[in-house]
Amino acid sequence: MAEPIEKVSIVVSRGSLEGVYPGLIMANGARMEGIEATLFFTFFGLDAIIKKRMDNLKVATVGNPAMHIPTVLGAIPGMSSFATSKMKKEMEELDIPPVGEFIEMIHDAGGELYACKATVDMFHLTKNDFCPQVDDIISVGQFYEMSAGAQIIFT
């Protein structure tokens, strides 16, 4: 039998609702299975841990062919909010928590959360912009060091 996975490092690089949730679900699922989990938020993925933004992420209705609506319709004001509220309702029914609560759950489950230093500098952010569950702001080098022995998953 193959060796079981013991540790995962998940990179969240996108800031749309559908860009953030897969990484959170995989990190939480890892902890549920007793697998160590580290989340590394980079570029627009940082929105998932920025206090003011984390619970206002939106579904992308433009440039997203899997939404199955024409781009011009997707661009109508309010369309993204509409799609977002529908998706959030579906998720609530499946007991998938809002982003803020999910981050807290992963943190309480022993998952570690890090923000990417390059992006933090680029967007002129500080640790105060982030939710308290964020362990640290780290460089890509530190990320690789921490990921020793882990499977790295990019989302």
Partner: protein, 105 residues
């Protein structure tokens, strides 16, 4: 399907190593299964989780999500992971005599 002696009873297990028949389960068997999972003694806090999981399973046909479990049982996420280290949902379900949970959350 595998059959093993646990707490003096011959019991059938499914492919995941969980009890095949819910009705075979009792508190003594739970204690023996807990030992297999590295939990030496089941405390009152463990039993809150186990009883909640059994009740949910009987009502809904699946173990509860961790979110529902922590919100409704009174045992929070941190404590849950401390009580059942290395995989709370899976371990608690096995000790409670239930099949492996199907949910992702």
């Amino acid at each position: 399907m595998e059959t093993r002696d646990i707490a003096g009873t011959s019991l059938a297990f499914d492919a995941d190593g969980n009890l095949a028949n819910l009705s075979d389960w009792n508190e003594e068997i739970a204690a023996a299964l807990a030992q297999e999972e590295g939990i030496d003694a089941l405390t009152d806090r463990h039993w809150i989780v186990l009883n909640f999981m059994r009740k949910e399973y009987q009502e809904n046909g699946d173990a509860p999500s961790i979110r529902k479990l922590t919100k409704q049982s009174g045992v929070d996420t941190k404590e849950l992971y401390a009580l059942f280290p290395k995989g709370p949902a899976k371990k608690a379900a096995r000790i409670a005599g239930l099949p492996k949970p199907k949910g992702c959350i």
